[in-house]
Symmetry: C2
Subunit: 239 residues, 2 copies
C-alpha cells in the first residue's frame, strides 16, 4: 500500500473491500471491523473509514454504530450472449424486464475510410450515425454508436426512435434477418460523455465491442461500437 502511483490509499482500500464483498457469498454480510480492516490493508483506521464512506455513498455498504458495517450483495452481472444472431432486446429480456433503447443523437455524415471499408461503401458516401442508450429495469447498460448507409436505410433513424429496437427498425426496411460477422472486444476507461449516459463514476470501465452485422447475402449493413458498463454486464460467448 505504499506505491507512489497516484491512486489514494483510501481508494485502493475501497477497491479491496469491494472485492471482499464480491467474493463473499453471504448476502447482507458483515464486514470485518474497521480496526481489523486497517490492519489487513496496513493503513490507519481513518483511511479505512474514508474508504467505507465512499462505498456507502455508492450504496454498496451501510454502517450501524456499535454493530458494524454491512455490505449489500450486488445483483450479479447480467449475461450478454454474443453469437451470430445477437439482439439486445431478446437477450436482456430473458433476465430483466422492460429492456428499452433510446435514441440519444443522430446525424448524417460522410463515411470515413474505416466506415466505408466496413460497410462496403465509397469514402464520403452518406451514412447515418446513431447514438443509442440501452436500459434494462431502469439501469443503463450500454451506449452504442451505429453506422448505416443512408442510401439503403433512409428512414432508419425515425424507425429506431419509434420502436427503440434496431431489429424492428431494420424490419421496417424489409430486412428481417441479419447476423453478426465479427466482434472485437476491448476495454477502456469510460469517456466523460458515456459516463453521463451510463450514470457511472468517472473511473469506471467500459467493455468496448465493435461488430459488423451483415444481411443474408453477406452484405455488411451495420457497423457498431458498443460500450458496456463493465460492472453491470459480462459478455458470454457460447461455442
Amino acid at each position: 500500500m505504499n506505491v507512489d502511483d497516484g491512486i489514494a490509499r483510501w481508494r485502493r482500500v475501497a477497491d479491496g473491500i469491494r472485492t471482499l464483498a464480491a467474493e463473499s457469498d453471504a448476502d447482507g454480510g458483515l464486514l470485518p471491523s474497521e480496526a481489523a480492516l486497517a490492519e489487513r490493508f496496513g493503513v490507519n483506521r481513518h483511511t479505512v473509514r474514508r474508504a467505507i464512506a465512499a462505498l456507502a455513498a455508492e450504496g454498496l455498504v451501510h454502517t450501524e454504530r456499535g454493530r458494524g458495517t454491512f455490505f449489500r450483495k450486488l445483483p450479479g452481472r447480467l449475461h450478454y450472449p454474443i453469437g451470430t444472431r445477437t439482439r439486445f432486446s431478446e437477450n436482456i429480456s430473458r433476465q430483466a424486464r422492460e429492456p428499452a433503447g433510446r435514441l440519444i443523437q443522430a446525424s448524417v455524415e460522410p463515411a470515413d475510410a474505416r466506415i466505408a471499408a466496413a460497410l462496403g461503401l465509397r469514402i464520403g458516401a452518406a451514412v447515418h450515425r446513431m447514438e443509442t442508450l440501452h436500459v434494462a429495469d431502469g439501469m443503463p447498460l450500454s451506449v452504442s454508436t451505429s453506422w448505416f448507409s443512408v442510401e439503403r436505410f433512409p428512414a432508419i433513424v425515425a424507425a429506431y426512435a419509434e420502436t427503440g429496437s434496431v431489429s424492428k427498425a431494420l424490419e421496417a426496411h424489409g430486412l428481417v434477418d441479419y447476423h453478426r460477422r465479427e466482434t472485437r472486444v476491448a476495454a477502456e476507461h469510460v469517456s466523460p460523455a458515456d459516463a453521463a449516459h451510463l450514470a457511472c463514476p468517472a473511473d469506471a470501465i467500459v467493455i468496448v465491442a465493435e461488430s459488423l452485422n451483415v444481411d443474408p447475402e453477406g452484405q455488411p449493413m451495420q457497423r457498431s461500437r458498443t460500450r458496456f458498463a463493465a460492472d453491470r454486464i459480462e459478455l458470454v460467448f457460447a461455442t
Copy 2:
C-alpha cells in the same frame, strides 16, 4: 479535473496524454507544450510535468530541453482470436515472435463448490491451481489461473513448467485435442499482484476471460481465468 475520487490529477493528466498519443497517427510525434497541456487539462504546469515524468519512466515519451516532448507510437493492440480451439502460442505467434508461457506459482488445493461444479468433481477433490504469465516479444500480455484435476493430470505442473505451453502439457497426458466450451468476458481494474506481473500501471484495466475447456468426450478438464492487459490486446470473436 476536480472530482474528489482518490485519483491524483497528474495520473489523470498522464492518462489523457496517453490517449492523445494513441489517437495521433503520426509516429514519434511532438506533444503540445507543457503550458498548452496545462491549459487543456485545467491544471498547473508542474502537474503536467509530473504526468510527463511518469510517462517518461514508462518509456512512452522523452523530452528535450528547449524542443519539447515527443511520444513514441506504441504498437497497436494484438488480436487474440477466441474460438473453439484457442491456443495462446498459435494465436500470438502469427503476430509476434517468441510467445512464451512462464509458471508463476502452482499449488494443490481442494476444489471449492465452483471449481468442482465446473470440472465435474466432488467438492474437496484435489485440484492443481496454476498461475501462468504469457509474454510475447518481451511484453507481458496476460496472467492466467487454471485449475486441473490432480487425479486426471497428476504431472501437469511439471509438464507446463518444462514446455511453457498448456497444449503440450496436456499432450504429455495423452490429451491431444480439446476445445473451449464457453467464454465469459468481463473487465476490471487490475489487481496489485497482476499489475506487477503485467508491468502495467496500478490503474490499468484487465479483460477477464473465464473459460472452460473440455476434452473430445465433452468432459470438462480445464477451468481458467485469464486477465489480459487491456491496452495491449483485444479479443476477436469471429463467427
